[in-house]
Amino acid sequence: MAKVLISMPDDLLERIDREADARGSNRSRFLQDAARRELGWPSGNALEAALTRGREALASVGGFESARLIREQRLVRDAGDRRR
């Protein structure tokens, strides 16, 4: 993950830190969330292109039920955590 150096008024930074702390978050996460909200939605074309790429990658992998795969993997990880 990239690290960036940005300029910001002291009072704004103080407000950010106070709010992040109140949410149990931190400065980096707070600013990442704010940026995501500000950037909003991807364009329809970008979303469609991403979906096409992903679907083509899985086009020939055969049939399965994703919810079952995810459940199995969560239980495997959970069992591993319990053994630690």
């Binding site: 679907r55 399965f64 039920e65 995810i70």
Partner: protein
């Protein structure tokens, strides 16, 4: 109508890319149409790519790594991935204990609660706990005339 917040878990995310043998593909994908129309704000957790990749690589699907990488790259372009805060994780621990869920399940529910968001899932444990809803139920609400 203001956009509502929706957190999608990995069981729904995979259906955006894979259809064969899957239930609820249409409603899972309809969520993306609502997202494109800015009727919902859609996020996943930072945990989701790991869950998606693990299921594809290590589950019975045994999908090749290069294909899994394409799916992860596509997912990153579709919606933001949020990191649970300390408060979310505390809530997740409580939900996990109360509903006998894994912390992985409960993390989704905690993040959704903190944001006042709908959690869409097809995971039986989350559905039985009442902490998440099926995509079809959420889509039905979105398309219901007001």
């Amino acid at each position: 109508m203001p956009a509502i917040d929706v957190v999608s878990d990995a069981s729904v995310v995979l259906k955006w890319f894979h259809a064969e043998g899957e239930e609820e593909v249409e409603p899972a994908r309809a969520l993306l149409e609502h997202y494109t129309r800015q009727a919902i704000r859609l996020v996943v957790l930072d945990l989701t790519p790991y869950e998606v990749a693990n299921a594809l690589l290590r589950g019975r699907a045994r999908v090749a790594a290069d294909r899994v990488a394409v799916v992860l790259d596509a997912l990153a372009d579709i919606c933001p991935q949020v990191t649970p805060t300390k408060i979310d994780l505390r809530e997740a621990a409580m939900l996990a204990e109360r509903h006998r869920l894994t912390l992985y399940d409960a993390a989704y529910a905690a993040v959704a609660r903190a944001r006042g968001a709908e959690l869409v899932t097809l995971d039986e444990a989350l559905l039985k706990s009442g902490l998440g809803r099926r995509p079809s139920a959420v889509v039905a609400d979105l398309t219901r005339p007001t």
